[in-house]
Amino acid sequence: MKIAVCIKRVPVMEVKFAITADGSRYEETGLKYDINDFDLWAIEAALQLKEKAAAGSVHVVCLGPNAAQEQIRKAMAMGADSGVLLESDARTYDGLTVARALAGELSDGGYDLILFGRVAIDSMNQMTGPMVAELLDLPVVTNVFKLDINGATGRAERVLEGASEVVEFPLPAVLTIDDGLNKERLPSLKGIMAAKKKPLDVKPANLDAPQVTVRSMALPAERSAGRIVGEGAAAVPELVRLLQTEAKVL
């Protein structure tokens, strides 16, 4: 089983973002970065498939700045065998340009599976995986939260709003991994030390000029804290009154 996992370096979101004075982007100074959550679950899925088959390899592909090598090393510390960084400082929101660069890298790899996280929590574009599949003419199943690979076919369950779909597909295929499939492992110390010696290729990304451009960025309007109506069940009548007369939702 030869598996590629596409990962993204994203800011750690437990911060209050600030917008630059010209309103063109968010301030990056002081941000910490990690692998996108959903991509961690994609890595974990790949490692579990490899371990179950007791054969194969997991190759990590990342498009991002030079510093994203740290995220590739982390994936290798978790157990991935090799990695490639398609280096680019572009902060593009054009999913198609990213998908084209990744598809170019992946096209000759002979992968049985190409995994993505469902969505990158920075761009929240949620489109790169299916676009890559389309460009490579591979079947794709998105939002996978249950997965069973059996030889050259797979069966997955994908999340819908309040429902789910059971999907069958042939390999090779592209999957985007959702929350709920697994819980990612922590890299062991030996894994971290071993990752240093695993092959990591860095090459420039060939990104087309973006069709999607950023006009501006802003912070969402702050919700002002409301009020404490009261304590315990005694506060219920007042709450109901407010919902009827003030919020008008009842």
Partner: protein, 328 residues
């Protein structure tokens, strides 16, 4: 003047609320770009065309009905090929999808087939010299990016609940279309649709959501949330990640960054402390009520109304009060 092609989402033969939202958004897009027509693609098994009238009532100038047994279930490959063929013909300046699980699966396929960009999950948009300029939440919805795209055609998807469906009746015009490829030849096959509970209203459609967290202490206590939802009559029950991780509630009920994003008129957070990951999925709700025993819980920071107390005590009283209020 450019026409807009809207994809109407259905499930198990029924149109979803997001389909009407998409038609309303499509109407707005047509008007902003000079008054083109709104055509809506409605795909499904034989008989789906009978639903076309509701689409016309919301402003569809024409409904393109694609009936085939191969579309009984979601058939992304054949649907993407058909939409790409429609959008390639030069009739349309825009292709508009719902930013749902299906819409976000389908729209990137179409974009890649056409070699055009896609602006996803818009909460609002305008048109500026042929380009769609739309607001798209990024960074866990902590930043709003305004993105611009001028494609031939321009593809976009709109966030559920961001556009309230509005009636804007048109004469019903139906055009039967056929699939661009053999629908039975798709490699990816949906073999089963598992509906959570068809009697219950979906989280994304519900005007009221009662969501429960760890403060409920046990899976059985979710009954209290269900009772309250029933008292409202138009409510759905959601849950936090901690709760779905523990198996108290199905995974598909999870609201938050890694689950569903909801924006109901009223969101009742019962025994939810308000972890950042949860807030990311519900902070755009119109009115938020929080019930939590810890008065310092972060949920109170974004709640319009809070009750400090034990949810197990407050919920039954609230349920009775809502019943009484609705009865009077």
């Amino acid at each position: 003047m450019a026409n807009v092609l809207v994809v109407a989402e259905s499930r198990a033969g029924e149109l979803r609320k997001v389909a009407f939202e998409a038609v309303t958004a499509g109407r707005k897009l047509a008007e902003l770009s000079g008054g083109g027509e709104v055509h809506v693609v409605l795909a499904g098994a034989a008989g789906i065309g009978a639903k076309a009238d509701v689409l016309a009532a919301h402003g569809a100038d024409k409904v393109l009905v694609l009936e085939h047994a191969g579309f009984t279930q979601y058939n992304p490959e054949a649907l993407a090929a058909t939409l790409a063929a429609q959008l390639k013909g030069g009739t349309y300046g825009f292709g508009l999808f719902s930013a749902t699980s299906h819409g976000r699966d389908l729209s990137p396929r179409v974009a890649a087939k056409l070699g055009v960009g896609l602006v996803p999950d818009l909460t609002g948009f305008s048109v500026d010299g042929g380009a769609v300029v739309g607001q798209h939440p990024i960074n866990n919805a902590k930043v709003i990016a305004t993105l611009a795209l001028a494609g031939t055609p321009t593809l976009l998807s709109v966030r559920p609940a961001a556009f309230a469906p509005a009636e804007d009746a048109r004469a019903l015009v139906i055009e039967a279309i056929t699939s661009a490829v053999d629908p039975s030849a798709s490699r990816v096959k949906v073999i089963e649709l598992k509906q959570g509970n068809t009697d219950k209203i979906d989280l994304n459609d519900a005007p009221v959501i009662v969501a429960g967290g760890r403060g409920l202490k046990a899976a059985d206590n979710f009954k209290l949330c269900e009772d309250l939802a029933e008292a409202f009559g138009n409510a759905a029950v959601g849950a936090t990640r901690a709760v779905t991780d523990d198996g108290w509630r199905p995974h598909t009920d999870q609201i938050g960054q890694t689950g569903r994003n909801v924006s109901p008129d009223l969101y009742i957070a019962a025994g939810i402390s308000g972890a950042i990951q949860h807030l990311a999925g519900m902070r755009t709700s119109r009115t938020i009520v929080a019930i939590n025993k810890d008065k310092d819980a972060p949920i109170f920071k974004i709640a319009d109304y809070g009750i400090v107390g034990d949810v197990l005590e407050v919920l039954p009283v609230l349920t009775a009060a809502v019943k009484a209020a609705r009865a009077s």
